[in-house]
């Protein structure tokens, strides 16, 4: 009994050390524990991404987390083990967001295009405190198109490479670079009020 418990613990520890692609291989073979580990690894990341994509709607984000994991399971056999899991996973998430937006547009006649506007004076004043910077940023993100928002979050929140982002969004690398550049400019313009002009700042030494 002791030996078998120790053996199971060793297997469990090995699974926790396994990379995402190895876990997917085990999931394809019917390993439930591997699915649990993968879920623990990705649920918070996915939730954060979806929260920002969906403008902070917690219920919608949680529902989408569930839907996306189900989609991953249903399509697990299509995952090629020689590819990276994260881009494949976030591609599913991105496409799901796109569908959700289409559905929302259909219902609310809302638009997902860029507004090309700065935040209103009132919004800026409301968020003028540094502690509110995050809220202002999230508000600014919601003014971006779905694709640019996704691109920005995948780069700065998920720290994916440009190559992976290009795969997820099905765009050439050059296009990703230029759009990311434009997005940063746009965000900078919208968050100009937060530029710490009155304070002496230290430059980012880790750059």
């Amino acid at each position: 009994m002791q030996i078998s418990r120790a053996w199971l613990d060793r297997i469990s520890a090995a699974k926790k050390r396994a990379n995402d692609e190895q876990l997917m291989r085990q999931i394809k073979r019917g390993d439930r524990q591997a699915l649990g580990i993968l879920y623990e690894r990705y649920n918070q990341r996915l939730y954060r991404y979806l929260m920002r994509m969906m403008g902070g709607n917690t219920e919608q984000a949680a529902d989408l987390v569930q839907d996306i994991f189900i989609t991953v399971l249903d399509n697990a056999q299509q995952f090629h083990e020689d590819r990276l899991f994260a881009p494949w996973f976030f591609r599913i998430a991105h496409n799901r967001c796109k569908n959700e937006y289409r559905f929302m547009n259909y219902r609310n006649h809302a638009t997902t295009n860029d507004y090309h506007l700065s935040l209103s004076e009132e919004t800026i004043l409301n968020h003028i405190e540094e502690s509110d910077f995050r809220k202002a940023l999230e508000s600014a993100l919601m003014h971006l198109s779905l694709e640019k928002r996704s691109m920005f979050l995948l780069r700065f929140e998920e720290h994916l490479t440009l190559k992976d982002i290009a795969k997820i969004l099905n765009l050439p690398m050059g296009t990703v670079k230029s759009r990311l550049h434009y997005t940063l400019k746009q965000l900078r313009k919208q968050l100009q009020a937060f530029n710490p002009s009155n304070k002496e700042v230290n430059y980012d030494k880790n750059m």
Partner: protein, 175 residues
Amino acid sequence: MTKTCNSFKDLIDRSQYEHLIAEDASALKEHLNVCRECRKYQALYTQITKAVDTPMAMDHTVRNRIKHFILDHYRQQNKPTDNLRHKLLMLFGRPIPLYQSILLVLSILIIFIYVSRKKPNNDHAMPQRAEYYHTQSLNLPRVLTNGDIKLMQHQMNGINMTADTMFSVIAITDM
């Protein structure tokens, strides 16, 4: 050639999503030491990336509910006891196309049956010699019993003949 603040700002933008070449990176670093304006420009990016990188925790109960739902879905999808596909997967370690496999096995079986039927008879107990005996035996005078003769008489519809006549008919027919 000395770079202007605008070109350094461009470098700051680019450094947010791609690695700068060593020469540009060191030039930017030196410039940031002396230019307050560019430091401010970079600071906003630092603020943005820091703000985006903050964790957003899902409610613990919601997280567990979703986990159980997903695991249940997975269990239903895989039902290891009655799912042949799963058994094949466990056996071969890779997904096996079930219907194609069944078709392949059936085709092999049909071909095997066809080939084994066409195969010449190799049974030495019944050689060609046996056929020879059989042919020879046709030419030998056959001994007919009374029962045989009665049957033959019955088969010759309406022709009433005696056993002697019948023998002579048989003798003529055989010759």
